[in-house]
Amino acid sequence: MTTQMAPESMYRSTEGLGVWPHRGKVAAVGIGHSPTARRWDGRAETSVGAQSIMACRKAIEDAGVDPSQVDGIVLVPVTTTGAHWDADTPVPMDVVNAFNPSDDPLDGIGQLSAEWLLKNMPELTNVKFTMYAPGCMSAAITVAAQAVGDGLASTCLVLKGWHNLEGRYNHGGISAANEVPGSFALSPGRTLWGAPGCYGTALQFAQYCTKYGKHHDMMAPFMENSRRNGLLFPEGYWAQHRPEQLPPEDYLNSRWIAKPANLFDNDIPIMASAAYLFTTAEKAQDMAQKPVYILGHASSRGLARSIVPTLEEVEAETDSTGRKIYESAGISPDDLSFENMYDGFAQFHQFHIEGLRYRGMQRGDALDFYQTDISIEGPNPVLPSGGNIGSGRSRFWMHTDCIQQIQGRAGARAVTGVKPEIAVSGGPMPMGGNFTVWSATPN
């Protein structure tokens, strides 16, 4: 079976498409997570392949289905957090041979193919549909929802795995070279001028502060809230390995990376895999967990005109994304119980939620909103998952949280100031991402 990358036609990336035709007809039921780790320790049982198998098996078990009922898989084949396998480093054959390998020895170590997964999950005897999604879980969810809605699969695993290797990525290679190609020197992002990864977002944040008269210190309540929520997420990195709160004095006294972005405004790269089990609304009724219905999905495909997206471009794109999300789901901002938009960089979360007009906020309001009660106990929860800031860079905490909150399985993290009925999650970037609206009921 050859697995293709999902075609662009599976995404809803323009305004005016109306309500998603499969609104309420697709549901998330099962959830599976691997343990987290800061980096790979070189063992077969902690490889991204092994962790992904574990996540899939847990999701299947959680949904209470027999593996033979699974007929589809959507996964992200790229698993790197930024570090790539050094071409001069031998691939550890003991790890390769601990599994049923594919043609590429890095499969299951530094990438993940559907072929490898199926070879190593022999219990999946009935998979007829496989598809790749780019980047992160947000895209895989969109593709899987569309696939189930379109009838390409009826019981579908949605998988994202991450590997993280030793070293500081982006600090070697071309960054250490004496000469660079002209295209690199002028490229958006990394350039001759030495912009770190967070530069674009930090620049937009700087312009946001200039435009609306805000300042970096106003992020502290958001950061504290996110870490607090993350520490209530037993699946997350900080909860599992370093249960440390992030009080304002520690956040504000941290070193700068690209002022106004400091160390904690950047998320921490980790290894982890997560899987969900999606199915049709009908089949979900017979499964072990409460169905969480997908009301709609939307995607953003913003393009910066020049070397870096400006705040103005980001605001225009996230405004459009907000409109697409509501149009697709057939809801309005007032219908949202809570939001779980992406935060990895912390400083763009407000672009997402202002675009959503969450709790009626307008442009320039978010940092003031952060000074109010944004806790899970209050009426206006912000990022109850804690996101990447709360649990490490996986880009899937926000989705898991939406499903768990609506299923009533969020444990100590459960929102109590609102009834969890409709929520939105997605990302990653304000200029490009995929977003899903989840609901306790199909309509």
């Binding site: 800061r38 980096r39 030793e166 390995h241 370093r242 440390e244 520690d250 956040y251 070193r255």
Partner: protein, 117 residues
């Protein structure tokens, strides 16, 4: 002769992530010998303090990585050492701020950490 040692945590101490070669017992030995000791890490100072408390080691300072200079100005010593595992954030930072620098493996071989020495 008063010696001050600043310990990085991750990649340096055994409790770091990744673990480093310096054990908490080694830290305790230099503490008992009267060295001025503390940590200088990207971990938040509150988390550094919790770590030392957990191992019942009293330290003289806990600072964020970019505040190593404050340690130099805050403590009178005859020699200042920073031990860490990163070229830019540890070695260069240490040298820039008037500290001698040791990689964790180099440091582990120092007689300071020998209880009998």
């Amino acid at each position: 002769m008063a010696i001050l040692i600043s310990f990085d945590i991750d990649g340096t101490l055994e409790v770091g992530d990744p673990p480093g070669p310096l054990t908490m017992e080694m830290v305790r030995i230099v503490r008992d010998k009267g060295f001025l000791i503390g940590s200088c890490s990207d971990r938040p100072p509150s988390s550094q303090r919790s770590m030392w408390e957990e191992f019942d080691i009293s330290v003289d300072f806990t600072v964020a990585k970019h505040l190593l200079a404050d340690v130099k100005s805050g403590f009178e010593a005859d020699a200042y050492y920073h031990i860490g595992d990163r070229e830019d954030l540890d070695r260069q930072n240490a040298l820039r701020n008037g500290f001698d620098f040791l990689w964790p493996d180099e440091a582990a071989a120092k007689p300071w950490f020998d209880a009998e020495a």
